[in-house]
Symmetry: C2
Amino acid sequence: MENIEILGLVAATLTTVAFVPQVYKTWKNKSVKDISLSMYTVLLMGLLLWIVYGFYINSLPIIAANIITATLSVLIVITKIEYK
Amino acid sequence: MENIEILGLVAATLTTVAFVPQVYKTWKNKSVKDISLSMYTVLLMGLLLWIVYGFYINSLPIIAANIITATLSVLIVITKIEYK
C-alpha cells in the first residue's frame, strides 16, 4: 500500500472514531442540552450522500468510514431526542 | 461537471456546513458541558491529515472542505476550553 493511501486510511479512521467519545459521553451522562440536533441531522444527510458516492466509485474505505460515522451520528440523534 | 462530482461536492458541503449550527449554539449559549473535547481533538487530527492528503493528490474540494471543518472545530474547541 502506498504512503498516500495509508495517510488517507489514517485520516478516515480518525475522523470516524472521533465520534465515539461523544457517543460515550452522551450515553453516560444522558445530558444533551449543548449538542446541536441540526448539526447531526445535516451531517447525516451528507454522510448518506458520501455512502452513495462510495458505492458509485466503488471505494470500500469511503463506504465503510461513512457507514460507521453515520451509525455513531444516529446514536447521538437518538440520545438527543430521548433526553432533550 | 459529471453527476458523481456534483454528488461529492454536495456531500462535502453538507458534512462541512453541518458544524455551523454547533458553533452557533455553543457560542450563543456559552454552554459546552455536553460536548466531548476528545471528539473534536481527534476530529481535528483527522481533518489535518485530510488537508495534507488533499494537497498530495491536488484536490481543491478535499482541501477546502477540510480547512473549513477544521476551522469550525477549532472554534468549538476554543469555546469548550473557555466555558468548561
